[in-house]
């Protein structure tokens, strides 16, 4: 039955996200009406969320009667890359920019099947070195260095 509802799955996911975000807006603080100038902090996000919900329902209705096109399954390297990037984001505060870029530069090419480990090591070392050189040394921008903060 649902085979002939194109965009139904992404539509339901969007609606679930909208519902969750709407619930978050109920936690926003309110200020006296005089300070709010007629529009509390919740008004704009709720207006946008409502618009997205309406458009999503429209999208799902537009896809009614059309079969979902066959798509190839997402290959494992995509999921692995997502996992590595998510891990990098989670460890960013602790490890810092240079170390995280080094580790991502080391892990991702290996994960993608590169077996010339010397090249991978050179890439993993030169990329953070280049970023550090350009941003920290030339442009004098302070990058968060996490556990290497005292060293770099």
């Amino acid at each position: 039955m649902f085979r002939h509802w194109r965009d139904l799955t992404p539509g339901l996911v969007i609606l679930a996200v909208i519902a969750a975000l709407f619930a978050v807006t109920t936690t926003f603080a309110t200020v006296p009406a005089a300070f709010a100038q007629g529009m509390q902090a919740t008004a704009m996000p709720r207006l946008v969320l409502g618009t997205i919900a309406l458009l999503t329902i429209l999208m799902v209705l537009q896809g009614r009667g059309t079969a979902e096109p066959d798509r190839a399954p997402v290959p494992w390297p995509v999921w692995a890359t997502v996992a590595v990037l998510a891990l990098a984001a989670a460890l960013f505060q602790m490890l810092g920019t240079t170390l995280v870029v080094f580790l991502v530069g080391l892990i991702l090419p290996t994960l993608w099947g590169e077996r010339r480990f010397g090249v991978v090591a050179l890439y993993a070392l030169s990329l953070p070195a280049a970023i550090y050189g350009v941003f920290s040394i030339i442009l004098q921008l302070r990058l968060p260095q996490g556990i290497l903060d005292g060293v770099l």
């Binding site: 926003f28 902090a41 390297p77 890359t81």
Partner: protein, 327 residues
Amino acid sequence: MEAILAGLTDILVPSTLGLVVAGTIVGVFVGALPGLSSSMAVALLLPFTIYLEPIPAIAMLSALYCAGTFGGSITAILINAPGAPPAAATAFDGFPMAQKGQAGRALGMAAVASVIGGLFSLIVLILAAPALARIAYQFGPPEYFALTLFGLSMLASISGKSATKNLIGGAFGVLIATVGVDLTTGVERFTFGVPELYEGISFIPVLIGLFAIAELLKQAAEVGKPVTAIGLSAIRLPSLQDFKRVWATIARSCGIGTFIGILPAEGSTVAAMIGYNEAKRWSKNKDNFGKGEIEGVAGPEAANNAATGGPWCRRWPWASPAPRPRR
């Protein structure tokens, strides 16, 4: 005319020209780095101008700003990661051109369109800056609302075949803009206690996330598949045939960019998006947009550089706000 000649005399000094060249090189480099925009480059180089006379300093910073706006298109075309926000629209067609082995043609068109856009904006700045500044300051909330509505309505046609999906994407963009402390009430919205989110999410991380990470995941899906090496020709100027195809687009984008550029709080990014959309709307090759259409590179590049002269209109003494008409 005397003022123009006097200005030229001040600029055409070897030391000033040298600084302009240096500003251009640094601007292209910084603009091409994803994460650094031309405005940030100007801010970074500002301390160095303490030791300079005003005219060479202004000349160098202007060159840096304009070059930075163009520089963003290099990485947008070559790796689908716009170096600066104004180059986001350039990636829509620039990167598909690069994938077809036409990176040189795309870069050449980006350079030429940028130069034409920049020169047009400069001429307008010289001839009509006082008048334009007064027009800019007549813009009030109703006009901004109309412009915003126009910008959002463009989303319906800017890419893909589904206007509804484009509008959903645009609405999510507006939702991202609500993150942070509400300026009117001071209430935190969607910050989840993270201090970094108090000031909202700036355009550059969103840009890198949408373009660079998306491209990275796309590449991850291609792992193991045999790839065909594509010859990359060096930068070359567009052919006469290319020019015949894009001259109207460039002319239109020059006008759009200059107008958007003079408006306070608007800038090169908005100009580029409108330039791209108008290029598509008026093109005879609409269906080719998003697949490597050269007009899709010329339109936004001419517009974003044409917008670089506009902000100067508002910085001159004549730009003091005119009395607002009562609404």
